[in-house]
């Protein structure tokens, strides 16, 4: 009895130790150095990156890379957990970039990069990850990460649904222009005339008595604010600018899409099914997508989708401006294998193999300008649904800017902490529910958002 208990305990403790100890992988077999690379993504994206890492190891036989990844929503917490022993190479989302660059935990990369290497890449993508730790300024100073991608969040339409409704209602309406943006009001008017309760009877579509189709599934706050020549704060994010009339106008425009025009789900309806899923389920004609959604749209939906320019506001100097997200790939300042780690970071961000794979797998727009403007635009190695969206030049225009189209980083990229944005978003709900006008809201919220920004900036001194 006693002995069997003892042996059970020994087995147990052994099991625990096995389960709890990672494999001690600091070994140097065959003279290779070992570096760790930590990222996020779905199982498919992880498989893609494992392929990329394997290819990198084949080309660099002096380096062994241990790649691991977790789901996106667990990523930052997991990275924080590894603070005392950071991976050699890891993702850093641009919205978290500022505190990380400021903390000195990221290795400055300039000395490892040549002019020629950087010139091939979108200059905005590079300057996105520069940070001056003395003046707390983004876009200047050393380069603390390389861009995994630049991701314009553009407007997408369900082409099939659009045409079915136009036909069912007998409208005389063309598709929105692929390069010239509609105005806020023209867009709202178009959605109103596309209102439809879609039902198919005997192969015929009618717009009565069926499923309610929303004109637009939701609206990106920054997409409306930026497209009306407004912003949340001044250049260094010290002073709020939500009291700017252009800001108020853009805010009211979003609210009115539901309140006045009835073409967008209410905030409560968006809680039932988020806009992205509603679009995937065919419940809305327009929505928003980034390049990282391409793969899902190729594989998980069966309608034709395409990009159109974001509607532009009436304010003077306004351009159709999307927010542009980005993911950085950083090297730990404490890495013992800096040279190898930087080589991997470069391979994943600014070398042809990874950049070709990125667009062919429907993950991102290539960072290398030539590949983006030639291979990507001309659908090299793409076929079937993979050539969608046909108007993919829109992604490039948002990155490059032109007379009508522009892009701008997310507001949370510019601030040390992001709580202010979550709080603003929640505080805005009464505006979107019609309980308060945009004008009245900004009047009462201006001091709160200023206080939130001050708290965020209090770290920077």
């Amino acid at each position: 009895m006693k002995r069997s208990f003892l042996s059970i305990m020994i087995v147990l403790i052994g099991l625990i130790l096995l389960a709890c100890n990672g494999d001690g992988n600091d070994l140097d077999d065959q003279g290779r150095v070992t570096i760790s690379f930590f990222g996020w993504g779905s199982a498919e994206e992880q498989a893609n990156f494992q392929t990329l890492v394997d290819r990198f190891m084949a080309e660099n036989d002096d380096i062994r890379v241990v790649y691991s990844a977790v789901s996106a929503d667990m990523y930052m917490r997991n990275l924080n957990n590894q603070m005392n022993n950071l991976p050699d190479v890891f993702y850093i989302p641009d919205t978290e970039f500022m505190p990380w660059a400021d903390s000195g935990r990221l290795l400055p990369l300039d000395s490892y990069l040549s002019e020629a290497e950087l010139e091939r890449v979108w200059s905005r993508a590079i300057s996105h990850y520069r940070y001056d730790r003395d003046s707390f300024t983004l876009g200047e100073g050393p380069l603390f990460a390389l861009p995994k991608d630049l991701g314009p969040f553009a407007m997408v339409m369900n082409v099939d649904l659009f045409e079915r409704i136009v036909a069912a209602k007998g409208l005389d309406m063309d598709r929105p222009d692929p390069s010239v943006p509609m105005t806020f009001s023209a867009f709202a008017d178009m959605l109103e005339s596309l209102k439809c309760q879609l039902r198919t009877v005997g192969g015929e579509d009618t717009c009565e008595g069926g499923q309610r189709i929303f004109g637009v599934t939701h609206y990106e706050l920054a997409a409306a604010i930026y497209s009306n020549n407004a912003n949340f704060f001044n250049d260094d994010a010290t002073q709020q600018t939500i009291t700017d009339p252009n800001f108020i106008e853009a805010l009211q425009y979003i609210a009115n899409l539901h309140l006045v025009h009835g073409v967008m789900p209410s905030p409560s309806e968006q809680a039932n099914l988020n806009g992205f899923q509603r679009f995937m389920n065919g419940g809305g004609i327009f929505s928003f997508m980034g390049p990282w959604d391409m793969k899902g749209f190729w594989e998980n939906i069966n309608f034709e989708f395409d990009l159109i320019p974001l509607p532009v506001g009436p304010a003077e100097g306004a351009k159709s401006t999307a927010w542009v997200g980005s993911m950085g790939i950083a090297v730990s300042e404490r890495s013992r294998q800096r040279e190898a780690a930087v080589r991997l970071a470069k391979y994943l961000t600014i070398e042809e193999a990874s950049q070709r794979m990125a667009y062919q797998l429907g993950q991102s727009v290539p960072n290398i300008i030539d590949i983006a403007e030639d291979d990507f635009l001309n659908n090299v190695e793409l076929n079937g649904r993979q050539i969608m969206p046909l108007n993919k030049v829109m992604f490039l225009d948002i990155i490059r800017h032109n007379a009508h189209i522009a892009g701008h980083p997310r507001p949370t990229y510019f601030t040390y902490e992001n709580i202010w944005f979550d709080d603003l978003f929640e505080a805005l709900l009464p505006v979107f529910n019609g309980q308060i006008t945009a004008q009245a809201f900004v009047n009462q919220y201006a001091t709160t958002i200023q206080r939130d920004l001050d708290e965020s900036n209090s770290y920077l001194n």
Partner: protein, 283 residues
């Protein structure tokens, strides 16, 4: 006449109560049934405007997908590692301490006991952040240690319960064992443990269910699929699949994770429904 009508009222009252209780029972069962039925649907059936009760073509492969595409068995074995290690060590530690408090002469007994019981008053949220930082500093985050380690030092609630129970064991037995020259550990192993078996069994079962369903702390510490327990795995599938991509898959995972506890409950039902858990509540 009067008596008759009163009887009639009483009878209809009883019938009404029975109907309500049965309706309530349906309500208790409904979420489970809906979960199992949804697990058999296609994603578009699950999010159709008019909910359909039965799936058109039962998607039994959803269950197989859960078992093969997700680290489901990994999560089960992680959960079991926590269960076995915490319960085996924690129960012995708690029982030993309970024996000591219930039957042995101890200096400052009252103070020490109150001190240990006061840890039940401290909400986890109050100690969560420093514990989290400490485990980070020790490099133990994203291993099972932060979940296992605190449990190895015993469980105040269990200890308290066992103290109450062990006080019912006659002192004569212990005194005579002492006279026979038994050591204190010997008394614990040979007298206390066998006599406390029913109480220990009840506590172990409760603890087992509690650890199986534990979510808050594991969700903080276990972020890699490699170490996730079942509840954390389900919750992380929730954040991926709840918005509609493949809701039935999530429901299949939730169903599978619920079945073992329902079986344990049915098997050990008398421990849950009998009054043994009550001995702590005194009038």
């Amino acid at each position: 006449m009067h008596e008759k009508s009163e009887k009639f009222v009483l009878k209809s009252f009883h019938i009404g109560a029975t109907l309500l209780v049965l309706l309530g029972a349906m309500t208790m069962l409904l979420p489970y049934i809906w979960m199992a039925l949804t697990a058999l649907k296609t994603p578009s059936e699950a999010f159709s405007m008019v909910p359909t009760f039965l799936p058109e073509a039962p998607q039994f492969h959803n269950f197989r997908r859960v078992l093969t595409e997700f680290p489901f068995w990994r999560a089960v074995s992680n959960t079991m590692i926590v269960e076995l290690s915490v319960i085996s060590v924690g129960t012995i530690v708690s029982a030993l301490a309970a024996f000591s408090f219930a039957k042995l002469r101890m200096p400052y007994k009252k103070t020490l006991l109150l001190m240990l019981l006061s840890s039940m008053m401290v909400p986890y949220a109050t100690v969560m952040l420093p514990q989290y930082r400490a485990f980070q500093a020790l490099g133990m985050v994203d291993t099972l240690w932060p979940i296992i380690l605190p449990g190895l030092f015993g469980n105040a609630a269990m200890m308290f319960f066992l103290i109450q129970y062990m006080r019912g064991i006659p002192d004569v037995l212990i005194e005579s064992a002492k006279i026979d020259g038994a050591s204190y550990l010997g008394i614990f192993v040979r007298i206390i443990i066998p006599l406390s078996k029913p109480a220990l069994a009840a506590q172990v079962i409760f603890w087992f269910v509690g650890i199986w369903n534990d979510y808050f702390a594991p969700s903080i510490y276990l972020t890699s699929p490699r170490v996730q327990t079942l509840q954390v795995l389900i919750a992380s599938l929730n954040s991926t699949y709840a918005s509609g991509t493949n809701f039935p898959l999530l429901m299949a995972a939730a169903t599978l994770s619920s079945i073992p506890m329902i079986l344990i409950f049915l098997f050990f039902q008398r421990y849950f429904l009998s009054t043994v858990i009550l001995s702590g509540v005194k009038e």
